[in-house]
Symmetry: C2
Subunit: 106 residues, 2 copies
Amino acid sequence: MRRDIFQAIADPTRRAIILLIAAQGMTPNLLAEHFDTSRQAISKHLRILSECDVVRQEPSGREIYYQLNPVKMEEIEHWLAQFRNILDQRFSNLDNLLSTIQNKSK
Amino acid sequence: MRRDIFQAIADPTRRAIILLIAAQGMTPNLLAEHFDTSRQAISKHLRILSECDVVRQEPSGREIYYQLNPVKMEEIEHWLAQFRNILDQRFSNLDNLLSTIQNKSK
DNA sequence: TATATACGCTACCATTCGGTTTCGCAATAG
DNA sequence: CTATTGCGAAACCGAATGGTAGCGTATATA
């Protein structure tokens, strides 16, 4: 079973859950009110988010508040940074090539 | 069929393909050499990436070079910015709360 | 012209996904 | 104590996923 943040944010419902929980910790029932799907479906998404450690449980009586773990989101930023580095490097190589051509034409 | 960038980057092979193509446009056969999977599997990933407009085809004789469309990647950045905004807002509200408490204690 | 290569497309397969329904358990309310 | 509420877990279903194998076509090469 693949289970990383990229798989966690692949589903639009889970992305919405992340944004909602980022604003404030919420219970599954509270979350389900924001979507036109069942509480169980939301619970399943929360389980996936928990397995990815994107979200943490905080029991309070018979309710469970789900809180965001912002650290996990950095893995996305990390991959994007990798991506941007490659692009930057490519462009700087292009610059080198261009200046080489300029030098030759002199 | 769901088809957006978040679904495109959900698969680790596709993430690797994106990074490889970001560095340099490549043909399916060339790409397949970097993985221990078949050319057909890579072609399928490329089709998904094409449908998401993350990647563009550039025919050259009987070869097809796949080039990256960097613009599409900004959608990820956009969602992350949304996420960061919510977190920032939450913290500034906390600041407001704290200063309110301070004022009351005065 | 005959052959080899690069590729997309379709058919097929096992697995996973997102969802619903049902159930059982613990905590609260009456 | 009994009824209700909040929740996770399991069984099940249709659809999508990632992969393979084989076919057809266009380009390049002998």
